[in-house]
Symmetry: C2
Subunit: 240 residues, 2 copies
């Protein structure tokens, strides 16, 4: 965008956050440079800058542009598309109805995908975990249908190139692989949801995606440490 | 918008839905005419048109424009703003950062306001209900701060005229009054949140809002009937 410097972009993130990854992906696809600031301890010691920049939710990601913060991952992605309209590809389509469909699908991913996985991760009973698995396959089936319908034989939700929905789902790509390693569960299974499984590989192979993807082993390690800490806390609580 | 007919707009709604009301408000503020179709029994008998138009969530509101459905209230409001860009006032501001702030506030209302009220309505214990009341006042305090900051002495979240956030919150105006009648609870209290209480009156007095607001007595009656039906179902379940 003429006269607008990208040097003033800062991103507050955390390496394992799928929501921060969405913003990294959008920045990468649009070819925007930025300063990245890692939140090292979101549980016990959030940075002053995070608390000041996102006082309502106190969560990553936060994008700071020319000193002004923008919060919530998909709101940031839309902001980047609008504030840097002339820079790199547009992530949202130009047609109003197609934009509405893209926003609907991204909202569906936000509302359903992560919560179904959390039931698998954090379900207190076997029934809850099984219900989480059932729901995560149902969500995958809906996304398979969306991919079939909206891409019409094209490689991405956005058509020939990645768009808004690809970024929304792309934030979870590394976690899909980590979940398989942790639980032996292929949430985007090639037999049940072949288009989605192919999308997973295709998206992950993009140079602009590879440039910002977290190391899957580190996600696995983080999840195991979190699990151990929770088990220890539960044991300590029972001891009281 | 040149060459675009508004006669092809249909809205599937339900009179008590705050989400359907948002779309009615946006249509009213933009001066768009439409055919309204009331869903008469969302619990037991959804219309074929609703099931076909919103197969993922099966919920109102759905806007159908030239035969193409758009779902989710704030996605519909954005769609109306984009598809009828030249018709009536713009609801989202033109500046990208102000747009992001408006989207953030609308998302906050979606995520926090309704859920806190549902705890008051449907809380199973007195503690849960008290927590709901506490949360609903905390949400109101955050909105009070947003109104102070973004309107800067102006009457609406959108400034001198209503905008995207006013529509997001406006969907709940009739329910704020109904909750007071049902529970004696002023969720937008003039002593604690004076700007928000003044906004409530000012918004409700707009001709374009009055034209689409539901009858508060009917909301009260619906809530009482729902409560009686739930109590009867709970008693029957205990009897089994």
């Amino acid at each position: 965008m003429a006269g607008r410097s990208n040097n003033s972009l800062k991103l507050l993130g955390m390496f394992a956050s799928p929501f921060a990854l969405r913003v990294k992906l959008a920045l990468s696809f649009k070819g925007l440079s930025y300063e990245y600031l890692e939140e090292k301890d979101l549980h016990r010691n959030k940075s002053e800058l995070l608390l000041k920049s996102n006082p309502v939710h106190k969560k990553v990601p936060v994008l700071i542009h020319d000193g002004k913060p923008v919060c919530e991952s998909m709101i940031i992605v839309q902001y980047l598309d609008e504030a840097f309209a002339g820079v790199g590809p547009s992530l949202l389509p130009s047609d109003p109805h197609e934009r509405a469909i893209a926003r609907f699908r991204a909202a569906y991913i936000d509302e359903k995908l992560f919560s179904s996985w959390m039931m698998v991760f954090r379900g207190k009973t076997d029934e809850e975990k099984a219900e989480g698995t059932r729901q995560s396959f149902a969500v995958a089936a809906t996304l398979e249908g969306a991919l079939r319908e909206c891409s019409q034989g094209k490689p991405f939700f956005g058509g020939d190139s990645v768009g808004y929905v690809d970024v929304a789902l792309g934030g979870f790509v590394a976690w899909v692989h980590a979940i398989e390693k942790l639980y032996g569960l292929k949430v985007f299974d090639a037999a049940q949801t072949p288009l989605l499984a192919a999308w997973l590989e295709r998206f992950g192979a993009l140079d602009a995606a590879k440039a910002v993807m977290p190391d899957i082993e580190k996600l696995v390690e983080l999840a195991r440490m979190t699990r151990q800490a929770q088990a220890a806390a539960a044991a300590a609580a029972q001891g009281n």
